[in-house]
């Protein structure tokens, strides 16, 4: 069989499809198309929600830092956390901007490349968040205990205890990567745990890079 014969079969199938389907008039009468949800809208909602949370965090940390401007032992941890939150906001805002400017009425290769780059940016941002989070543990402990309970953790805990927590935070990173690489693929696909494990282990990043490379190969001549 040649491709031309397949074309003839395909045309025959088209006629069949035409005759065997009809639009659901009732659904269209009831469906508010303007409010119809799409995966892009859901994605944008997720990023917007994160942005709002991070902006609240920046504001609160800024307020705390200003309140403790004369106390470097509190000001510095708050500033570190604030910078971390600002970096997350910048990453989120860039993704949201990219997402809002997406128009599916563009050539397929261009749109798919943009979507893959967006996916890469998202994965990298999540990886950074997950991998840097353990390092933020000690500054968070210092700020939160002061802010929420009025406790000066420097006075309440020994420097050795704080140093041990910082080292623990550092140790968690390679441990999380090793666990995600060894056991992550055994988790059920589509679950949040599997998603996290794939991100930490770098499997999501590799898959996204492979997909982007496949799109580039497709667009290349010959």
């Amino acid at each position: 069989m040649e491709l031309e014969e397949l074309k003839a079969l395909w045309k025959q199938n088209n006629r069949k499809l035409e005759a065997s389907t009809r639009l659901n008039a009732l659904l269209f009468a009831q469906w508010n198309l303007r409010k119809a949800d799409t995966s892009l809208k859901r994605f944008a909602r997720g990023i917007t929600f994160e942005l709002i949370l991070n902006l609240i965090g920046i504001g609160a940390l800024g307020w705390f830092a200003a309140d403790h401007a004369g106390e470097p032992k509190f000001f510095i941890p708050a500033a570190i956390l604030d910078l971390y939150a600002i970096a997350l906001v910048i990453a989120g805002a860039r993704q949201l901007f990219e997402l809002r400017s997406l128009d599916y009425d563009e050539p397929v290769v261009a749109i798919q490349s943009r979507l893959q780059r967006l996916r890469l940016a998202r994965i990298r941002a999540t990886m950074c968040t997950l991998l840097f989070a353990p390092l933020m543990w000690v500054p968070l402990l210092i700020v939160a205990s002061r802010w929420l309970f009025g406790i000066d953790i420097y006075a309440a805990a020994s420097p050795a205890w704080l140093a041990a927590n910082a080292i623990l935070g550092l140790a968690v990173i390679p441990l999380a990567i090793a666990l995600a690489k060894t056991y992550g693929s055994r988790l059920e696909r589509g679950t949040p745990m599997r998603f996290l494990a794939d991100e930490i282990a770098g499997r999501s990043l590799t898959a996204a890079l492979d997909d982007l490379a496949a799109i580039r190969r497709f667009a290349e001549e010959g």
Partner: protein
């Protein structure tokens, strides 16, 4: 044009080209619930873009481009999550009894197998080729050169010959 009129015009045009929805969804999803979800997603994206449709290309070409873009994204996400879900909405396209002049199951299965054997982008190219779009139109929709389209169609033809020869040997 009032929104209601615009929606009525959109639905009318969509109805005239509804087989594009079925073909694209069928090429990218095996599972019926996924197909229905994908069709709903394509229709929502088409409506979102409809306000910017300027009649510079045929409605069917415009519809194909958006449908393929949505389908590839949907397929990639599904491949990652690999979870079948119940459709959130009732089916947009209702299935009616098949007409007497139905395509034989063997022939249809062969066409489906060939399409499903291709990667997502070549699948789009194949759909457009089978639907008689010219190389120039395929190139515009996909965003690649005409020479590239011709090369890829040539490769698919060769692969088809090889596959059929291999099947005959079995």
């Amino acid at each position: 044009m009032r929104t209601d009129d615009a929606q009525a015009a959109f639905v009318d045009r969509l109805d005239r080209h509804r087989r594009i929805l079925v073909k694209v969804a069928g090429a990218y999803c095996r599972d019926e619930a996924d197909r229905e979800d994908l069709i709903a997603e394509i229709v929502a994206q088409l409506w979102r873009a409809y306000g910017r449709f300027e009649e510079r290309s045929a409605f069917s070409t415009w519809m194909y481009r958006i449908a393929v873009n949505v389908a590839i994204s949907f397929h990639r996400t599904k491949m990652r999550t690999a979870k079948a879900v119940e459709p959130a909405e009732p089916a947009i396209l209702e299935m009616l009894p098949a007409p007497a002049e139905a395509l034989s199951d063997d022939a249809l299965t062969l066409v489906r197998e060939i399409i499903e054997g291709l990667d997502e982008l070549n699948r789009a190219l194949m759909l457009l080729y089978l639907d008689d779009y010219s190389y120039a139109e395929i190139a515009t929709i996909l965003g690649i050169s005409e020479t590239n389209v011709a090369t890829k169609v040539g490769r698919i033809k060769q692969r088809l010959k090889r596959d059929i020869a291999a099947q005959n040997e079995l």
